[in-house]
Structures are given as structure tokens and as C-alpha cells.
Amino acid sequence: MKRSYVGVAVLAFILFLNIIFTQYMVHQFFYENYVNTLIFCGLNIVLFPIALFAYKKMKNVKA
């Protein structure tokens, strides 16, 4: 039983983006660039469905 770790890599990358966007969002908030805050907030939110989709797609993938 071999597994594919592509899914893990994809999800780890999504988590990486999450961290970056959150960092930007918080910083832009305190710099009072509220439009940028909203953009990164939106990006963070769309990452969630993408992560769910990636999980659903990859959970049964075998190499």
C-alpha cells in the first residue's frame, strides 16, 4: 500500500499561504490600508474551500 504525498504537499502549501496572508492582513490593518486588509482577508477565506477540495480529491489517491 503506497500513498501519494502530493496532497500533503498541496495542503502544506495552502497552510503556508494562509500564514503569509494572515501576516499581511494584520500588518496592513495596522498600517490602516483597509482595502489591502480586505483583499488578504478574502484570500484567506477562499483558501479554505480550496483546502477542502484538495483534501477531498487527494485523500484516496494512491501512487
Binding site: M1, R3, Y5, G7, V8, L11, A12, I14, L15, N18, I19, F21, T22, M25, V26, F29, Y31, E32, N33, Y34, V35, T37, L38, F40, C41, G42, N44, I45, L47, F48, I50, A51, L52, A54, Y55, M58, K59
Partner: protein, 175 residues
């Protein structure tokens, strides 16, 4: 029972679970790990919401408050190129007004956006200076031009009425 497996390490066996005996040993297997990652993305998404909500609120101007108009001084008492310190909107909110030319007044809350030292107007250099760590601000816009401060000074809207200058409201900075 003698076995030839003992002489071949690792012996050929397509079974990766032979060493699992306890319950929950495989809790964080590949799929469980992916589930955790997806869940983490959900946590990030949900925790982004308040930031977005507050940012949207600020953008829609709900955070902008109108304060009772307050007289700063008389036009005749403030010469062109001079500045004056006053308090607005509260008794402890230091502010500064600068008369840039005959009809142009600018006012800012003058607590430095670095560490809140009072910023003052230097006529000769035509800019606002923070003495604490040599922060400089553009008098026209309140934007920082040099030194540690990175955010502009909050601008105060002023109104001239009947030879007197009034502070009206504190403006939100627009990028």
C-alpha cells in the same frame, strides 16, 4: 521455529502496519494529517473574518466621528508660516495647526506615529519634525518622509468662520 527472515533485514513484506498494536496509533496518518491541514485552513478563514469586518467598517466611514466644533484661535493671531498647538478632540489629544499660506491651514494630531512624541513644525525646513528619533513629516499631507514613523499623522479638518478657526473632525487616512 527457524525462519530465513531473520537473515534478511528488512525482510520483504508489503505490510506497513505490522508494528501497530495500540489503539489510536494511526491517528495522525497521512489522511488524518491532511484533515488537520484542511481544518487549519478553516481556522485561518474564520479568524480572518473579524479583521475584514473591522476593516470594512472603517472603510465605510462608520469609524469617523464628528466631534463638537472647537475654536482653535483667531485668524489674526496666527501668522502665515506659524504653528500653534491645541487640543482636539479630547483634552489630552495634542494637535498642531500650521498656516501654510494666506488661506491654507493644515492641522494634525501631533503625537508621532512612531512612539507618540509630540511632533512640531519647523518653519525653516518647511516640515514637521519629531525630536525623539528624528522622524520627519510632510506638512502638506502629514505623511512621514524620513525616520522611524511609517504611518501618517491623523489629519484634523479645520474650518474658518468669521475670522476664527475651528477644528471640525479627525480625518481618516486614505492611502
Amino acid at each position: 521455529m527457524p525462519s530465513d527472515k531473520n537473515n534478511k533485514i528488512p525482510f520483504n513484506e508489503d505490510n506497513y502496519t505490522h508494528n501497530i498494536e495500540r489503539d489510536n496509533e494511526r491517528k495522525l496518518d497521512r489522511r488524518g494529517f491532511m484533515k488537520t491541514l484542511a481544518g487549519a485552513a478553516g481556522v485561518f478563514a474564520v479568524s480572518s473574518l473579524p479583521w475584514g469586518a473591522v476593516a470594512a467598517k472603517e472603510l465605510m466611514g462608520l469609524g469617523e466621528k464628528e466631534y463638537p466644533h472647537k475654536k482653535i484661535t483667531d485668524v489674526s493671531k496666527l501668522a502665515v508660516g506659524d504653528s500653534l498647538e491645541f487640543k482636539f478632540p479630547g483634552e489630552h489629544d495634542d494637535a498642531i495647526i500650521i498656516r501654510l499660506n494666506e488661506n491654507k491651514y493644515v492641522a494634525y494630531q501631533n503625537a508621532c506615529t512612531h512612539l507618540r512624541c509630540p511632533v512640531f513644525w519647523v518653519k525653516e525646513q518647511n516640515q514637521m519634525v519629531c525630536p525623539c528619533h528624528h522622524g520627519f513629516f510632510d506638512a502638506e499631507t502629514g505623511a512621514p518622509t524620513a525616520g522611524p514613523p511609517r504611518r501618517p499623522l491623523p489629519e484634523i479638518q479645520v474650518k474658518v468662520d468669521n475670522g476664527a478657526i475651528y477644528a471640525v473632525r479627525v480625518k481618516r487616512y486614505e492611502a
